[in-house]
Symmetry: C2
């Protein structure tokens, strides 16, 4: 055999040995992806197009009015607070502060969560003292550290003085003799919030597109599934469905350096079992909404991930795994609906 | 003649007498409108499509970046202040407060004017202590009652930490080795503001459409021309071109009940002649941007109009004339450019 023939023979041998190996590897990877997609679909399921409510059906007129009222500061005691203050859409509907600032710069007791993908939780707020987004919108108006108004009647008085609102409330709540009410304010704002879902690369993955996540992101997802993170952070929102104690293996403040230490849901129920219990937060868009935890005590997502594993699961995650999980969490950063990103122009006072 | 013929004769007589009268009246009205359009065009002139600057040429990349930076609160000392805080577009780019509130709820010395149609004034701010919109954007960053940052370098540090800004600054300022600077922040925000012109029914009138103003509005415009209001409130912006003493015929505080009394431009020049001197404000969108005057001391537009005539012109305007003028001022409420009403989504910190 001359060298040319020997060369061809060697190539043929390589092909015979390696192609099946490559094929088997690819087949295994495909099967692993399908397995992962199936596994995570059972825990999460697809993100809906909106988060409707039987008590508050969505209509275009109600959503439009709600988007306006979301930006309305003239119904706060000092004219500085609107929903958009603590939930600016430009920062993924969170304010970037440790704790929100309301009227007269009063500090809110806890961190402002994003209102994206927020309406389908068991309750609103960290400790479940608001039944849902409508209740949250309503109670904010008289909340001392938020709008700080003395009464619902005082809010209604201002809304009625701004004449341009009447036709918009009439359209959103047809047939009502006095539609300009705080209840309808709450329904309109709630309806707007119910439209705020942000589909992300993770949803493409859930729908079967294995390539929507990078290898690192898939490793991060597997780590979260195997580690038990999704035991609490399940649902299409990856959270919002349970209350859980923060600090099972160690007090959370050991790592978050929180001061003061918040007793959580105990403040609502006065049940000892609810001490340091908080609602499991939604993880969607988490990379866009620092700082973290109920008190915004941690600025870096990687640190928050490490602390969660430490105090909730008793695990000391190695840096590579933290990094994989952070990569996965970035796949939860979603696309904000264009209609939500239009600034509404509010009616004049005179 | 029978009654039918008499009837026809009577109709013919009426037509002969009245048609020319109606025609003459219409012709007079037309001539009066044309005269008014000509007169006001000489004092105001057409609103441009943007307010360009030789020092800061407008490019789409610069305007886009400026719109983002306009909403950026993470470069303020407590994370609560952005341009949009005192100039929310939903309220016609003014905040509705007597005096603006900056970082840590600090009170600004004066009322926030709208930034719509604002870039072509002789200066920014009420007392001319900012050379223009770029200078205003820059100095706000270190202004103690606004962003309150300790230095420009500290702002640049944060802007550079938010990695997503680098490509946007590079695109807006091509060829610069370090484009992420406070100077370029100021240019970008200024460029965005230079696009914010709001054409109104008044502009249609200026362009010859006599029907764009109602009869009441035309009477109001004539009252302003005859009364001398446009001696100061001239230009396409109806103001912004002169400094003038507020309170020529009487101290302004006699009627505005202002306390404390602001010495105006004297604070900048230390010239006795500048005591109680302020920049003549732009009147565009005035009906949408209460409260009024440099200290927001007056809530109602009608009251502000009456006070202006009283203290600047020594006239006690009758209520009908105030009402006509207010009607005309409403014809200055303009259409906000759609591109300005999109909320920009800001890059993540990590």
């Amino acid at each position: 055999m001359n060298s040319k023939v020997r060369g061809l023979f060697r190539i043929a041998l390589h092909l015979t040995l390696f192609f099946p190996a490559v094929f088997l590897l690819a087949q295994n990877a495909w099967a692993a992806d399908q397995d992962l997609i199936g596994r995570v679909n059972r825990l999460c399921g697809p993100l809906p197009q909106a988060m409707p409510s039987e008590q508050n059906p969505l209509t275009p007129a109600k959503v439009k009015l709600g988007r306006m009222l979301f930006y309305e500061p003239r119904i706060s005691i000092d004219g500085t607070v609107s929903c958009a203050k603590c939930h600016p859409l430009s920062l993924y509907a969170a304010d970037g502060l440790k704790k929100a600032r309301g009227n007269s710069y009063k500090e809110s007791p806890r961190n402002s969560p994003t209102i994206f993908n927020a309406a389908a939780q068991i309750s609103a707020h960290w400790v479940g003292n608001r039944t849902g987004v409508e209740d949250q919108a309503r109670q904010s108006l008289i909340g001392p550290p938020s709008y700080g108004m003395p009464s619902y009647a005082s809010v209604e008085k201002i809304l009625r003085e701004i004449k341009g609102y009447l036709p918009l409330f009439q359209e959103a709540f047809p047939g009502e003799s006095e539609p300009v009410t705080v209840d309808n304010f709450a329904k309109a704002v709630g309806a707007f919030e119910r439209t705020l879902v942000t589909p992300a690369p993770f949803d493409d993955f859930l729908q079967g597109k294995a390539g929507a996540l990078t290898g690192e992101q898939k490793r991060g997802l597997v780590a979260m599934l195997d580690g038990g993170c999704l035991t609490c952070h399940f649902s299409p929102y990856l959270g919002g469905q349970l209350y859980r104690k923060f600090g099972i293996f160690a007090p959370y403040q050991t790592y978050t350096k929180s001061s003061p230490v918040d007793e959580g849901r105990f403040a609502v129920t006065k049940d000892e079992a609810d001490k340091h219990v908080f609602k499991v937060p939604v993880l969607r868009n988490v990379a866009m909404t620092p700082p973290y935890f109920h008190d915004g005590s941690v600025e870096q997502l990687a640190e928050a991930v490490w602390i969660m594993a430490k105090v909730q699961l008793g695990k000391d995650l190695p840096p590579e795994q933290v990094s994989d999980i952070v990569a996965f969490l970035k796949a939860l950063t979603g696309r904000i609906p264009a209609a939500a990103l239009t600034v509404p122009v509010l009616p004049a006072k005179q």
